[in-house]
């Protein structure tokens, strides 16, 4: 975004201070929220980030083939199992060598909430100095839309298919961001693509927080191909997820939770699910279970934010 004209821009574009390092056409499905996210991050944070990525839907674009690449960022293709540990190694060496750095460990929910959760938690416990971003498309999309820990109740995936004896995933989703906030890391936040100004602010806060340690961003990232909605609806899906409190926007500094957007009159979750085919088989009673879960999670969040304000976390004597 160099050479942009001053004064004529909306607020979000003001955050885009750096070039888009990606080539114009990249190998995502049309309407994939991942493309918007992955282009957005370096435009906000700069092109001198080092980004790590795993096998996932981000891999074809992030990791390139042989000696060819879709972008000009420094990147490291990691294993799903050890992504946070790879980022740890990079950040620690840069610190030792006195090299200014912003390491971004960029992973799907499959890595963050499932196979790589152990080392994500380990990095948080050790307060490692980098930013972990989980883009959450609620499943393993790259391998063909299988269930993950963040797949919500009722969603039909290829390993929790809807059928005569199944209503899709019969388990609730993991609240990954809340889990990470409970580590009392310097910064945790949720974000999504319908609220790009909020996302940009949170990226910048994460960058600032990683000077003090671990920063975690949980980005709700809908997938038209895997969820079954029209590609042009991606932003609308994000918007409704926020407006129903299905995906509330909040942040936590050292575990202290604060809503960054409060929805005055939350819409029923059905106004969100109605856009998406993976929920199409759910009847009213099923939807009520999902609604109850959304209400419960939101209530927990509110309760925790009150508790956190009342209870004082002991401050480390270091730094």
């Amino acid at each position: 975004m160099t050479g942009k004209k001053k004064g004529k821009l909306t607020k979000v574009l003001d955050y885009l201070k750096h070039d888009d390092p990606f080539s114009k056409g990249v190998a995502f499905c049309p309407g994939c929220s991942l493309e918007l996210l992955i282009r957005f991050i370096p435009q906000v944070l700069g092109n001198d980030i080092v980004i790590t990525g795993t096998p996932s839907c981000s891999a074809p674009v992030l990791l390139g083939q042989n000696n060819q690449s879709w972008h000009s960022l420094s990147y490291f293709g990691t294993l799903m199992t050890g992504a946070a540990a790879n980022a740890t190694g990079l950040a620690r060496y840069y610190r030792k060598a006195g090299i200014d750095n912003t390491v971004i460990c960029f992973n799907g929910d499959g890595t963050a909430a499932d196979i790589g959760f152990g080392n994500l938690a380990g990095a948080a416990e050790r307060n490692e100095p980098f930013i972990y971003i989980c883009y959450d498309n609620e499943g393993y999309m790259n391998t063909g839309i299988q269930k993950s820990a963040t797949t919500p109740f009722g969603a039909s995936t290829t390993t929790t298919p809807f059928g005569s004896a199944s209503k899709g995933k019969n388990l609730r989703r993991m609240n990954l961001a809340l889990k990470m906030a409970m580590h009392k890391i310097p910064y945790t936040a949720t974000a999504t693509m319908s609220d790009l100004g909020d996302l940009a602010k949170k990226l910048l806060k994460a960058k600032e927080a990683k000077e003090r340690g671990f920063a975690f961003l949980h980005v709700f990232a809908p997938c038209p191909t895997g969820w079954g909605y029209a590609p042009e609806n991606t932003i609308e899906v994000c918007r409704r997820a926020v407006k129903t409190n299905y995906f509330p926007l909040w942040e936590a500094e050292n575990g202290k939770i604060r809503m960054t957007k409060t929805v005055k009159k939350p819409k029923p979750v059905s106004t969100y699910t109605e856009l998406i085919k993976k929920f199409a088989h759910l009847n009213e009673a099923d939807l009520q279970i999902l609604q109850d879960d959304v209400d419960y999670e939101y209530c927990m969040l509110g309760g925790l934010s009150v508790l956190e304000a009342e209870c004082q976390l002991p401050v480390s004597t270091e730094d």
Partner: protein, 417 residues
């Protein structure tokens, strides 16, 4: 174990009585790594305890990452190494297995990681005991494997490993193996090198072209999808670097000798091999015992020698063939198994070169599994059997020395489980 320590220290170096694990920790400290990440496991734990203490006492200026598991240890040091750092980690058995995917990725990325693996039996049966099965189970991961015989060799090999791993022409990770329990906890006299000498020995690396490094804003990627020709090219280059490491190791051993006053002969050590008719091939701590028995047998007029493997990957076939060619009989001692081949893994590999040995006959000994001691009596038995083979007697191809009940595995005879 140590048979011929010269208790005379080089000026400035220190003679200490320390365990194998302490030797590994001090070796790592002397190499001045930037990043160390490790996770405890018997019999390796003492290494990371010692390193943590060095770090806590301000004697070791590294980033110490107390990871939540071995998988993260390897991933962290791999990445730090690709970023440009000197790194160290250590593990054993279950830990090595738990980091296996990252062990492969480290090799594929040609990250010059140095790791100590304290040999122990692998999971399956919960054996908290020595054996080389962990090493064998990872032998084709694409790492250079070195094996130490005693505590002195442990410290020396850890230092030498950096010259191999980080050499501009090599850039392959190196694993230094030594026998758990037998060496990890054994205290021996060790001539601990002086820091300045180690700095001097490693300084050569600084004069080389800088290796490619993953740095912020460097517009450089690592770990793209290797496909078709791209993948083939990388694999071929990896194989070639491994081949180059053979000569490089011999060269660095010579340079090591010039500075530290002791050398080991490179890829293999030949003990009383010149006029030997009969040879045992071994590796690691068993070689100390074998040398002692050989001396005894020599006194009794038996022309027996030892070929000790120091570099196990890449397999040092050329020097082994040269050393073994024309010997009447060879007994290979393995501390691990190789399913389907009946004989031990190293025996099986050496068999591939049998036609180049000008008629040498070979037999396999399996011993030292799960802490069964390779005793003097066991070694005598092996030498006697190999002598019998040399004389043309009928000798069983495979002998489980400490388990006489074992016949050559025969499914029909053994029946059921």
């Amino acid at each position: 174990m140590n048979t011929k320590i010269k208790a005379k220290a080089k000026a400035g170096s220190q003679i200490k009585v320390i365990t194998g694990n302490a030797a590994a920790a001090i070796g790592a400290k002397l190499a001045r790594p930037d990043v160390v990440a490790a996770y405890p496991i018997t019999p390796q734990t003492e290494i990371i305890e010692q390193i943590s203490k060095f770090h806590a006492d301000g004697e070791m200026d590294c980033e110490l990452i107390t990871v939540e598991g071995e998988n993260s240890a390897m991933n962290a040091v791999m990445a730090a190494s690709l970023a440009g750092g000197r790194v160290f980690t250590a593990t054993s058995s279950w830990g090595l297995v738990f980091m296996y995917d990252a062990v492969l990725a480290t090799a594929g990325a040609r990250a010059p990681v140095v790791m100590v693996n304290v040999n122990r039996e692998t999971p399956g049966i919960i054996a908290v005991s020595s054996g080389q099965q962990d090493m064998i189970s990872t032998r084709d991961a694409g790492w250079i494997f070195l094996i130490a015989e005693n505590c002195q060799e442990i410290i020396d090999l850890v230092i030498q490993a950096y010259r191999l791993a980080e050499d501009y022409d090599i850039q392959v990770p190196v694993m230094v193996h030594y026998d758990g329990f037998y060496l990890s906890y054994l205290s021996e006299v060790v001539d601990v090198p002086v820091q300045e000498d180690v700095d001097k020995f490693l300084a050569v690396l600084k004069d080389q072209p800088e290796r490619t490094k993953l740095i912020p804003g460097g517009k450089l990627g690592c770990g793209s999808h290797g496909i078709l020709d791209g993948y083939l090219e990388l694999r071929y280059k990896h194989v070639s670097a491994m081949e180059r490491s053979k000569a490089k190791f011999e060269q660095t051993d010579k340079e090591f000798q010039e500075i530290f006053g002791r050398g080991y002969g490179g890829l293999i050590e030949e003990y009383r091999m010149d006029d030997a008719d009969v040879v045992l091939v071994g590796s690691g701590s068993m070689c100390g015992t074998i040398k002692t028995v050989i001396d005894k047998k020599r006194d009794a007029g038996v022309k027996v020698g030892l070929l000790k493997i120091r570099m196990y990957r890449p397999f040092p076939s050329e020097v082994m063939v040269k050393a073994l060619k024309g010997k009447k009989a060879i007994g290979v001692v393995d501390r691990s198994l190789c399913f389907g081949f009946k004989g031990g893994p190293i025996y099986t590999e050496l068999k591939a070169f049998e036609t180049q040995l000008d008629g040498s006959k070979m037999i396999s000994f399996i011993d030292g599994i799960a802490n069964t001691d390779i005793t003097i009596a066991n070694v005598e038995q092996m030498i006697d059997a190999t002598c019998d083979l040399a004389e043309g007697k009928d000798v069983r191809e495979v002998t489980w020395v400490s388990y006489p009940e074992a016949q050559e595995p025969d499914s029909e005879k053994m029946g059921g489980r």
